[in-house]
Every structure is written in structure tokens, then in C-alpha cells.
């Protein structure tokens, strides 16, 4: 097992009186492909959003290489530039072309040269098969194409970890495959990935570790082969049987 990159320590999150995350402790190690599964409302997405501070946790800490990411803009920005995020709704910048989407943050956040940013953009757009579309605006692309661009855009930052928040949930069935294909390819490059997903087959085949969340708790955290074939927690069993039946 590689070194620990992100440690989540006793993380809790409430929206008003409703506690959505209850005492979450997870270590994320270098090279891991972690899939987080669970029914809607179990806190998966909130956990992911708490990791990169899009949601402020109620208590607990997120450590990055052993150092706490404090609630200070400088800490948050630095951390986020190392931990990319791919959203369910893509969130490409609508006012920019595909190429500009990929070049903006390396230029403005990492301050790399224009040439360097361009090279990165082309390299990663080629990886996801979107290089011919550099001049297109997001509104001119299909959902699957948008998501592939969004993945390339995140890769342009050379992130240490990439978070995926239900990356295929907003896609038509035939587009799901193209995005999962890109993610499978990425998984072979050694990039650390945390993926919130409802794609059970993908979680089973691609992840190195699967986390099942239930009502704000980590109910089970195991290797996918174990979790999918021999779940220990009755809630996991129930959840999986519903999925496998449907």
C-alpha cells in the first residue's frame, strides 16, 4: 500500500438538524481506486464535497499529507489545485471553448506558460478523444463529450487525486460507456481516484477498494471482491441484492 495522501478524521456534517455524515474516518492511499456506493441520500456525494471543501464540515478534519486543510482560502485553493473534481453536471465553463476550459486553471492557478498549458490541454484531450473539438463551446457538445472534456480539464492540473461525483448519472445509457471507458483507462495510469457511483459493475471491476455508505456511516470498506461476493454488513447485502436483482 502506498503512502496516505488524504486522511479524513472524524468528519461530521449536518444540514440543520439533519446529520448526513456521522463520524467518517477514511485514509486514502496513493494509487487507490476507491468507489463509494450506497443508496441515494446515504451521504456519498456530501462526503466527496466535504473532502474538497465545497461543503464545510460541521466537525472533524481533512488532512492532506498529514497536514490539516484549514478553512482558509489559501489552504483550500492549494489543496483543490492538487485534488481535482469531476461533477455529475460537468460544470464546464459555458463562456469558453473546450480548449479555453482546459487551459484556464493551469494558467491562472498553477501559472504555467501558455505553451505548457496548451500542450497539457492537447495531451489530455487526446487521451479522452476530444482533441478535435477544441474550438467547440460546451453547449455544442453531447453529455458524454462534455464529461470527457471535464475529465481532461481536471487532468490538465496534474492532480494527485481525482474525485468523481456520480460522473455518469446525468448521461444517456449509450454515453455512460464512453465515459466509463475513459475512467477505466485512467485507472491504469496509477492516478488516485475516488469515485461516487451507481455503476456496480464498474465498481466491482475497476476499484481497488469499495466503500458502502449507509445513512451517513461507512457501513463497509473492503476490497471489491470481498464486498460484492461476501458482504459482512446486512445492509450491504440488502443493498446489493436489490441492485443485482434489478
Amino acid at each position: 500500500m502506498g503512502e496516505t495522501i488524504i486522511s479524513i478524521k472524524d468528519l461530521r456534517k449536518s444540514f440543520g438538524t439533519h446529520e448526513v455524515l456521522k463520524k467518517i474516518d477514511i485514509d486514502i492511499n496513493k494509487g487507490e481506486i476507491i468507489c463509494i456506493v450506497g443508496s441515494s441520500g446515504s451521504g456519498k456525494s456530501t462526503l466527496l464535497r466535504c473532502i474538497n471543501k465545497l461543503e464545510k464540515q460541521t466537525s472533524g478534519k481533512v488532512l492532506y499529507h498529514g497536514k490539516e486543510v484549514r478553512d482558509i482560502q489559501k489552504d483550500i485553493n492549494e489543496f483543490r489545485s492538487k485534488v481535482g473534481m469531476v461533477f455529475q453536471s460537468f460544470n464546464l465553463y459555458n463562456n469558453m471553448t473546450v480548449l479555453q476550459n482546459c487551459m484556464l486553471c493551469p494558467r491562472k492557478v498553477l501559472k504555467v506558460s501558455k505553451e505548457e498549458a496548451f500542450d497539457r490541454a492537447i495531451t489530455h484531450l487526446k487521451e479522452v478523444g476530444m482533441a478535435p473539438y477544441i474550438n467547440a463551446k460546451p453547449s455544442q457538445l453531447s453529455g458524454g463529450q462534455k464529461q470527457r472534456v471535464a475529465i481532461a480539464r481536471s487532468l490538465c492540473m496534474n492532480p494527485e487525486v481525482l474525485l468523481f461525483d456520480e460522473p455518469t448519472s446525468a448521461l444517456d445509457p449509450e454515453m455512460v460507456g464512453e465515459v466509463l471507458g475513459v475512467m477505466k483507462k485512467l485507472a491504469t495510469t496509477g492516478l488516485t481516484m475516488i469515485i461516487v457511483t451507481h455503476e456496480m459493475a464498474f465498481a466491482r471491476d475497476v476499484s481497488t477498494r469499495t466503500i458502502f455508505m449507509d445513512q451517513g456511516y461507512v457501513a463497509e470498506d473492503a476490497a471489491p471482491i470481498k464486498l460484492f461476493t461476501d458482504p459482512q454488513n446486512p445492509r450491504t447485502r440488502e443493498f446489493l441484492s436489490r441492485y443485482l436483482a434489478g
Binding site: N52, L54, K56, R70, D71, I72, Q73, D75, I76, N77, E78, F79, R80, S81, K82, G84, M85, F87, S89, F90, N91, L92, Y93, N94, N95, T97, L104, C105, K108, V109, I122, L125, K126, G129, A131, P132, Y133, I134, N135, A136, K137, Q140, A150, R153, S154, M157
Partner: protein, 249 residues
């Protein structure tokens, strides 16, 4: 024209006789409206952005104090200027500044009033424009490590700007007409010109009708111009595939 009879003849007579005065009035009206609106827009954007600022609990203490203070000032400013008539603002600012011992020409005071008034309305428009942009756009930038200010300038404002162009055009047209209230602080704009000309022959109806036509023509033309510009700014709807990168498909 000699011995004008009906109203139309009077209008032509007055226009010919006082052409220079009407032209000067038109010029000053345009001058104040344009400068006042442009500066007002800038002020409005600044205020709108301040109102949208967020504070993190872990932020450096002086920064938190400063941002809270700026937000308070911004909110107070917007409320005060939106809740009082421009004509009253003009009087208070003009006489207030003179009373404080600073010599201010009516034109400068007029521009100042227009800027402050426009700024307050624009701040609300900008805030609405920012609010109309999907939160996902911001999250997409934040999640890549962009600061809130960078996010604002590169991602949110360009989109908000596009959305509020019609409202900005509207504000300019309003200002073009609202400069007429500045006659109360003796700015020699169009309304003042009509008042003066009308008084010379006791032909107020005809004199004001002349400037009504001028206001109408100005607003009509600007309206057409803004419509044309808006169309232009929509940009291309198609794009070219970059064939040089097609090989690995």
C-alpha cells in the same frame, strides 16, 4: 421663418432660432448620460461584486472585518440611493458639497449624481446577473483551485454580463431621460434649454415638444444600436473541427 402661426410653425421657428442652444443641450444630455452611465456601471459592478463576497471562518481577522465593513457600506449605499428620488439626491449632493466649501460646477455635480444613482441600480442588476449563473459554474472553478475573485472575473462575470446587456441598455436609456431632472441644479441640458427657450416667447408647449422629439429620436436610435450590438455579441453558433487532431480517433 417669420411670423409663425400654428404650433408646428412655432416649433420650427424656435428650433431654427435657438438651434445652438438645443444642440448644446443635446450634447450635454448625451455627455452626462454616457459618462454617468459608464462610470455608474463600473461602480455597480464593484458594489455588486462586494455584495457577493464570502467570508471563511478561518480567514485572517482583519480581512473578515474589512469584508464585513465593505459589505455593510455597499448595502447601505444601494438602499439609500434606490429609496430616494434622483431629483432630491441632486439637490442634496450639489448644495451639500457647496456648503462644505468645495466649488463644483453643475455639470460635474450632475455626472456625480448620475453615477451614484446608476451605481445603486446596477449593483442590484449585477447581483441578479451573478445569481442567475448556475452555482455549478462556480464550483467547477473553485474545485480546480481558483480563488473566488478569479472565479468571478474569468467565469461568472463574463456570463453574467451577457445576461444583463438588455438591462444595461435599459439603464442607459433611463439615464438619457433622467438627466432632465438635473435642470434643478442648473445644468444646461435639454430640459433647461426648452425651459429657457419657452420662456422667451411664452411658448412652452412648442418648446417642450421640440425636446420631446429630440429625446425620442435619441432613445429610438440607441435602442436600435443596442439591439444590433446584442445580436452581434451572441457570436458564432457553429465551430470547426480541428482536423489536425483527428488521427487518433
Amino acid at each position: 421663418m417669420e411670423n409663425p402661426g400654428n404650433s408646428l410653425e412655432w416649433m420650427l421657428f424656435l428650433t431654427e432660432k435657438y438651434l445652438k442652444m438645443f444642440l448644446q443641450g443635446t450634447w450635454l444630455t448625451l455627455y452626462i448620460a454616457v459618462i454617468g452611465t459608464v462610470l455608474g456601471f463600473i461602480l455597480g459592478y464593484i458594489i455588486g461584486i462586494i455584495q457577493d463576497m464570502k467570508i471563511n471562518s478561518g480567514d485572517f481577522f482583519p480581512k473578515r472585518i474589512l469584508v464585513s465593513f465593505l459589505k455593510l457600506v455597499a448595502t447601505a449605499y444601494v438602499e439609500i440611493f434606490r429609496d430616494t428620488p434622483m431629483i432630491v439626491q441632486a439637490m442634496i449632493i450639489y448644495y451639500g458639497i457647496r456648503q462644505a466649501g468645495v466649488e463644483l460646477t453643475p455639470v460635474v455635480a450632475g455626472i456625480l449624481v448620475t453615477v451614484l444613482n446608476t451605481g445603486a441600480y446596477m449593483a442590484e442588476t449585477v447581483r441578479g446577473g451573478i445569481g442567475s449563473i448556475d452555482l455549478g459554474q462556480r464550483e467547477g472553478a473553485w474545485a480546480m483551485g481558483m480563488s473566488p475573485m478569479q472565479t468571478m472575473f474569468y467565469v461568472v462575470l463574463p456570463q453574467a454580463f451577457q445576461n444583463i446587456i438588455p438591462e444595461m441598455a435599459n439603464t442607459f436609456l433611463t439615464n438619457l431621460k433622467m438627466t432632465s431632472v438635473l435642470n434643478v441644479i442648473a445644468v444646461q441640458e435639454l430640459f433647461m434649454a426648452a425651459k429657457t427657450v419657452g420662456g422667451n416667447y411664452y411658448k412652452y408647449f412648442e418648446s417642450y415638444l421640440v425636446i420631446a422629439v429630440i429625446y425620442f429620436v435619441l432613445c429610438f436610435l440607441f435602442n436600435k444600436l443596442f439591439g444590433f450590438m446584442e445580436e452581434k455579441m451572441k457570436g458564432k453558433t457553429d465551430y470547426a473541427l480541428a482536423v489536425e487532431y483527428m488521427d487518433n480517433q
